[in-house]
Symmetry: D2
Subunit: 314 residues, 4 copies
């Protein structure tokens, strides 16, 4: 979110190129960030040491390494590519990323399988997609039992249909892998896009002991717009943050934004401010009264408690 | 919204039967309502005088009369029914409603053309739908030039596709009618459902001088759930109320809710409370700063002003 | 689908009342049906023997019994109702239905938990919904280990959010039940509504050994319109039927339609005709070529094989 | 659709760079194309003469010139940019394109206002968007009364909300312009995305005398996936082609595809083949029977005529 943004129309990009070291410096300027998710491979010529140094001077740590399993080479899939040789290259890329993650002290390696899926009816053999996905992740995860892995599921984009489409689908596939060190990278925007209720879906992941990481942003619910937190779904974002409290989430919450037309540092600061404000609201929420309302499924009473937080008393 | 609710599953209804006079009394119990939209024909045996008396004892006036052009007889359309005789009956029903509206001092007669449209590909002749719709409304409106009429457009339900599907489509058809006394009944929930931005769409109607009435509620954006105001789209509802100020709307705002599982009187009160609170927030919104932000399309600055209203007070 | 249809607008219904015995006779008139899913309780005064006789004279068997766990009494949920007494009544209703199902030789008892879920943000305790759902179904299923049960999952309606929302969510809950005799009633329309690819989702259910029953219809993908088979999603319906062949489905396929404005017998016949035609197309589909195309994820080649079936060769 | 494709993930693009002259040659290889819509400015150093020559050697003509009013410079809008200087630059770009269009004998200059709109609630002054849009297009169109212009409306992307969002909205704005030489570039995929029925919407544009051009493709209805024609919505595409016959459309139909993972020449050929096949089906459609079915809104009869075309031949 601190790099250069491009899309299929503005092919000259929404701003000038930004290297990984510069992007880390930008993140440092936000002032409130503590950890980053970093893409791998780095720009040509950039070493792990340079990345470590850049993190250090910005008082940031590396939370995750995300292998670029979605570039041109993997356009028909990484772990599910129809070509065995490309599947092998994807696995190799993930394994290299493990080493880098260890060197940078990252908590987990992220699978972002955006190209793994299909676009057209009849294009894919769904059994093969399942098998390749389960076996591919399993092989990578089994190769480093002490490293944690997280699958960032999403309904679509860049494929019109991604295999790891939502939390429940992904949990089923993780179960089939039979490994302990794979969980879900829960992105609240992806949850909106999948028509899940984020609070419910994150509790589902936690209930199964498979919540690896949490990312936040907002969108209009039929595309992954990666907007500032709370900008569209304010009430559901509050409910989501309450769910994080309920499951005892005490780790970092990552921002995942694409501020195409905004300043990325400012966009990060705004989202952080919003989250702090929402957190302060939660401190004032009468949980006992809320639970009592929920115990009778009293929608109006539950909503009133929440709306009065937002709207105040005259 | 104060009557009996039924759907295709709970065919024994969500509560006992409620006659029109009892429904008016319920509305009176809300305590803050001033005007009602009343379906016509009334229950068998109920006279206009009885309705007038019921309104009077509850200090309510009749804002609109809505002919039941969506009952069994009109299941394939009222003004667009393929059968000329049924189209004639629909026109007659609307004309009778004009008399009742006049007797009750209603501001307008509402077209709620829920059965006018189509369900399947290839089912309808779109030219015929256009022609019947334009000619039918024109005939009714021309028969009472001093009465105002409003078309409540909606994307779908009960048909999978309604002819008067959104504000822009309906404005085009109204233009083709060539009459002065037909406008739009703008329902904020229908606007969400049509994927419009309500603030933008209501300004579009007003810009064309065709805003007859305003109704509010909320939903999940792919069905007309008729939920309490602000329960899902809090930010956009605030933006919508600001748009009403901008266009100088000084008439009543009607609630249109279907609280299947809630108490209708309580649901009305909650929505009214929410709207009052939103109105109070608007009083505190720094409009100058907002306009300045909009003048440079500065999304983060505009959002900050609004989010601090909801979240602020540090 | 052979009864009386009503919705929240046409409260006088789309046609006259139809009793269960008459509905069975209508089904018999279709001429090609072999099995029915019958709601329970029957109309007041109708006995199991009368239903059996009606089935017999129409050469139909009872495929499933569906308890009416979605009527007024259960408007806030059946197995997940916040009131323990109502939950108990729901369980009792299901258990009574088991006896009836046994008496009629039904293959399974269907859970159609349309009221089990929530409507508003913050209304529900998602942990409680999960627990009540898992425990409730488990208790019913454990009480009759030789009877099969099927959960018909759906994203929404009548609730804006159903707990058993899609195939993957439901499979996770079934796993948690720890019983062998509960599976999924897969409705292709519900799959479209949940934004699943039906062919992929039915294979997911089958892969987990949990496919109890298959129902078909079509819709516009954001509501459960229960339209005639293939009327909107012709290509995906063909792909779905191919998936049924792949998993070796050799049991009945049930129609689940709500032809509000059409003749139900004619609607059934049309859907059956369409399915027979699609089946004949599948007989002519070059499966070897399709698999070769899928093995390289060649969308254009796979589509060409299918489109040429529909569109013929010049 | 014959150039290089990139998106926000595969920033190394889905294939190597393709210049405009090479793209024209690719189009020539399709073998069945007769006219192209060409972006302007051309690649650096490419002259109008070179483009004309490339068209000539491929037996293609230039149907339209599309100014790149969606590049980095115009990321906050072209004609609606908040900065007056940038709005001026957009107008200048459009005017330059007129000259090029005249030199190449293009039928029309296309407005593709993808950056004109907004992303966030409260970001935009909707009055200003309307005014800038109406005045900007009017100024360009009035500067060349003998040139035709077409606005390609779309619901969203790259903005989350485009101003010219659908056919009806755009017709209203065109009316407000008060010029004769502006119409709509109707893209069937954009129509699906806007939840319009393409057959109905194209007739709406034609009824108002504002149909400038027709483009075709397909998508999954909540994003502009630009897939091959008929790949998802086969029945509605047939209905759309029938609507084109009804309105007497006798001009070219343009393909607008983004075959990210497919060969663009093959993708074009497949779509052309599909359209030819659909056209042949239409020749065999019993129009008299269809009209009779539509005259009674008999969905099953109308569908049967169509489904038997696709499925029949017993």
């Amino acid at each position: 979110m601190f790099g250069q943004f491009v899309d299929r129309y503005a092919t000259d990009a929404y701003g000038p190129p930004v290297g990984v070291l510069e992007a880390i410096d930008r993140a440092g300027h936000v002032g409130d960030l503590v950890a980053l998710d970093i893409n791998y491979p780095f720009d040509s010529g950039v070493s792990v040491d340079q990345v470590r140094t850049a993190l250090g001077r910005n008082k940031l740590r590396c939370s995750a390494i995300t292998p670029a399993s979605y570039s041109r080479k993997f356009q028909k899939g990484a772990l599910t590519n129809p070509d065995p040789q490309t599947r092998r290259e994807a696995i190799d890329l993930y394994k290299q990323a493990i080493t880098v993650a260890q060197e940078l002290g990252a908590k987990y390696v992220k699978f972002w399988p955006g190209q793994d899926g299909y676009d057209y009816p009849f294009q894919a053999d769904y059994e093969a997609l399942w098998r390749y996905s389960v076996e591919g992740v399993r092989e990578v995860a089994a190769s480093a039992p002490k490293m944690q892995f997280g699958i960032e599921c999403k309904f679509k984009e860049p494929r019109t249909h991604m295999f790891f489409s939502n939390v429940a689908n992904t949990l089923l596939a993780i179960q089939a892998m039979g490994v302990d060190n794979v969980g879900i990278v829960f992105d609240s925007g992806h949850s909106f896009l999948a028509k899940e209720t984020p609070a419910e879906a994150v509790q589902l992941a936690a209930r199964h002991g498979r919540l690896t990481s949490v990312e936040v942003n907002d969108n209009w619910r039929d595309w992954d717009d990666d907007m500032a937190v709370g900008s569209v779904h304010l009430i559901e974002t509050l409910e989501f943050l309450l769910a994080l409290r309920k499951i005892g989430w005490d780790q970092v919450i990552l921002l995942d934004q694409f501020p195409f037309r905004e300043d990325p540092v400012a966009a990060a600061r705004e989202s952080i401010r919003t989250m702090r404000q929402l957190d302060a609201l939660l401190d004032r929420l009468d949980l006992e009264a809320l639970e009592a309302a929920q115990d009778r499924q009293d929608a109006l009473a539950a909503q009133r408690l929440v709306l009065d937080l937002f709207l105040g008393r005259p």
